[in-house]
């Protein structure tokens, strides 16, 4: 998992959200439910709660839009970009936008929720038979009022269970007419309209008047998509017209002819050749629930994961029975902690938790024996200001330490430099050259890395040397050049242009690593020979220089180790 630069998160657990507008592809109640379930994905594993607001400003403002929808990141028509969301914060931060040039479903084709009839709002059952004929879409057959309907079981003749399908003749949504159905024809700007239109709008949404004259009454609503509504194209969602003519041939169903991408389309008049009116046919569509759960992850502070099965993986994949991946849970709990209270508990890790994590204190029989070392004399004239490049710089017990060839100096809190001291006098098992070191803030254990080996000091007792492969680092690594504490139990280990995240308690590298340093820490050299943390900043050292990065991962200073850190 990854969080955004500076780990932005909500500073309260009772997060609010508001649904600003709706997609015509799904009944309002289906959208409400999909969003509520998407929030529940995250509240199930954290202390977060999500409360819906119906007006005013909520933390997470949810809206649908097409192409340029009012922020600097336009959508791109059908497919491609599905949605985006902003990290937690004020204003647009925390908001989630969904591309309404997509066909929103629950991932398995049109979601046709019925109204009225005798099925209490049940979904259409496709295919269904009626008077011996099979239907895969809603139909107006058998009715004189031209209202599309469907059976809610496979056989209408047997069960007589039916309901009415989404249609502008039945209801509208949004607008100012409280969901009243369209009135056709209606007058708008002096012109007469016999169907929904996008005229008068720049956002591409289809609307209609709910009285016969919009110019006088100003009453309107948005038109729900019918299950045969086309998507995208240039027909404003008008339904397919079967048969239609294309390149002189007649088509009774959707076709991919004429396209190189295999997408199914249809004409929305009887002749495409004459009218050039077309649209994409409804396909499986994209699960609003799954995409919303992903986007809400961003709105809570999670960036993209590179674990393919994780919800926060950038690409869309439909999952029938969805559950959060361990990586997502670790990520959101890194930000907000675990859910308090009895249930539901997140899925337990697949390894039986009775096996205790390997404790680094246990001497591993395969470990190399600790080599006897002799104390090296200290050359008091050794001047830290004459060192161009230290072996490593790190903070131990809150004090900045500079290591070089078996010696080290300490920067006291009043800014004075003390030393040199002998490494072997204080840590007798260590070699002269230390590539990197860090102090685990939880256990106060000191980790030292030299070449492909590492040592763990607990007070005066030491474990090691052991191979860094024991931690799960690959054998291709020559040396560990930097270490950054992340939270309580994680440490980033840097080598070359990559870094790994070590779970200190488990003594193993987390999944999804290595990552490129400059992909996450933009603006610093990707071949720094030392990386350390000091007073809330991250330092990347190369030769005599350091690049200092603040908590929002912005490089806010480039300077000389000698003058700025050693105060030479």
């Amino acid at each position: 998992y990854k969080t955004f630069a500076g780990d932005p998160k909500w500073d309260h657990n009772d997060v609010t959200y508001r649904i600003i507008n709706y997609t015509p592809d799904l009944e309002i109640s289906v959208v409400d439910d999909a969003f509520a379930r998407a929030f529940k994905v995250w509240s199930d594993v954290t202390p977060l709660t999500f409360t819906r607001l119906y007006d005013g400003t909520a933390d997470i403002m949810i809206s649908f839009g097409k192409a340029d929808h009012g922020d600097p990141y336009p959508f791109d028509g059908k497919d491609g970009l599905l949605a985006h969301a902003y990290p937690p914060g004020e204003g647009v931060q925390g908001d989630a936008h969904f591309d309404d040039d997509e066909f929103w479903t629950l991932g398995k084709g049109p979601v046709v929720k019925t109204r009225y009839g005798n099925s209490e709002g049940a979904m259409c059952h496709f295919p269904f038979t009626f008077e011996g004929k099979t239907y895969t879409t809603c139909t107006t057959e058998g009715r004189t009022d031209n209202l599309p309907w469907c059976a809610t079981t496979a056989d209408y003749s047997r069960d007589k269970k039916y309901g009415f399908c989404p249609s502008e003749l039945l209801y509208t949504f949004g607008g100012n007419a409280d969901g009243a159905e369209c009135v056709f024809p209606f007058v708008f700007l002096g012109e007469e309209y016999d169907s929904c239109t996008t005229e008068g709008r720049s956002d591409g949404y289809r609307w209609c008047a709910t009285t016969s004259n919009f110019d006088n009454d100003k009453k309107y609503g948005f038109c729900p998509s019918r299950d045969t509504t086309t998507i995208g194209g240039n027909s404003d969602g008008a339904p397919c017209h079967f048969p239609f003519e294309f390149l002189g041939k007649e088509y009774d169903s959707c076709t991919s002819e004429g396209r190189g991408d295999g997408k199914l389309w249809c004409g929305t008049t009887d002749s495409y050749d004459d009218d050039k009116k077309w649209g994409f046919c409804p396909d499986q569509g994209y699960s609003l629930f799954l995409v919303a759960a992903h986007e809400f992850g961003h709105a809570l502070g999670l960036d993209h994961s590179n674990i393919r099965e994780a919800l926060m993986y950038p690409m869309y994949t439909y999952a029938e029975d969805f559950s959060l991946h361990k990586d997502d849970i670790e990520g959101i709990q890194y930000l907000y902690g675990r859910r308090t209270g009895p249930d539901p508990t997140p899925p337990q890790p697949d390894t039986p938790t009775t096996i205790p994590y390997p404790d680094p204190d246990e001497t591993d029989p395969t470990d190399e024996p600790t080599e006897p070392t002799t104390t090296r004399p200290v050359d008091p004239t050794k001047d830290a200001c004459k060192v161009t490049k230290f072996d490593t710089i790190t903070v131990i017990e809150g004090v900045l330490h500079f290591f070089k060839d078996g010696h080290y100096w300490k920067m006291s809190s009043n800014g004075g430099l003390k030393g040199p001291f002998s490494v072997s006098e204080r840590w007798s098992a260590l070699p002269a050259v230390i590539d990197s070191a860090f102090e685990n803030m939880l256990t106060r254990k000191l980790y030292f890395f030299s070449g492909t080996r590492f040592w763990v000091y607990t007070g005066n007792s030491v474990l090691g040397p052991r191979s860094i492969e024991k931690l799960g680092l690959p054998n291709t690594i020559q040396k560990v050049e930097g270490a950054l504490q992340r939270g309580k139990g994680k440490v980033l280990l840097f080598s070359g242009e990559n870094y790994w995240r070590l779970d200190v308690k488990a003594q193993k590298i987390d999944m999804g690593y290595p990552r490129y340093t400059d992909a996450v820490f933009g603006g610093v050299p990707n071949d720094a020979h030392d990386v350390f943390q000091y007073k809330g900043h991250i330092y990347f050292c190369r030769d005599r220089f350091y690049w200092r990065m603040n908590s929002r991962r912005q490089v806010d200073r480039v300077g000389y180790v000698k003058y700025d850190l050693l105060k030479c």
Partner: protein, 89 residues
């Protein structure tokens, strides 16, 4: 069997045209999702090559890190996805 009809491709009016060359599609993708030409706030200006940017994207997507615009990478770039960049700067 008759020979398959030669499909004639037409340009559909009103469609957001996305017909780019593979390389154009790739560069557009790598820029859009932060893998290259990211505006560094300050400090070290590391101009990422297309090859390095491809490797970064391949790693993010769990693909083989070839640094080349191979079929699986191109396929991945055509998949529907979230619009939030993968590399935030």
């Amino acid at each position: 069997w008759s020979a398959p009809l030669k499909s004639k491709f037409v340009t559909f009016p009103g469609e957001i045209l996305k017909n780019m060359t593979d390389m154009e599609l790739a560069e557009n993708y790598l820029k859009k999702f932060g893998y290259m030409n990211t505006v560094q706030r300050s400090g070290f200006q590391s101009m990422v090559s297309t090859e390095k940017a491809l490797k970064m994207m391949q790693r993010q997507m769990g693909l083989e890190e070839t640094g080349q615009l191979d079929t699986s990478t191109l396929e991945a770039m055509k998949q529907p996805r979230c619009g939030v960049p993968d590399v935030a700067n």
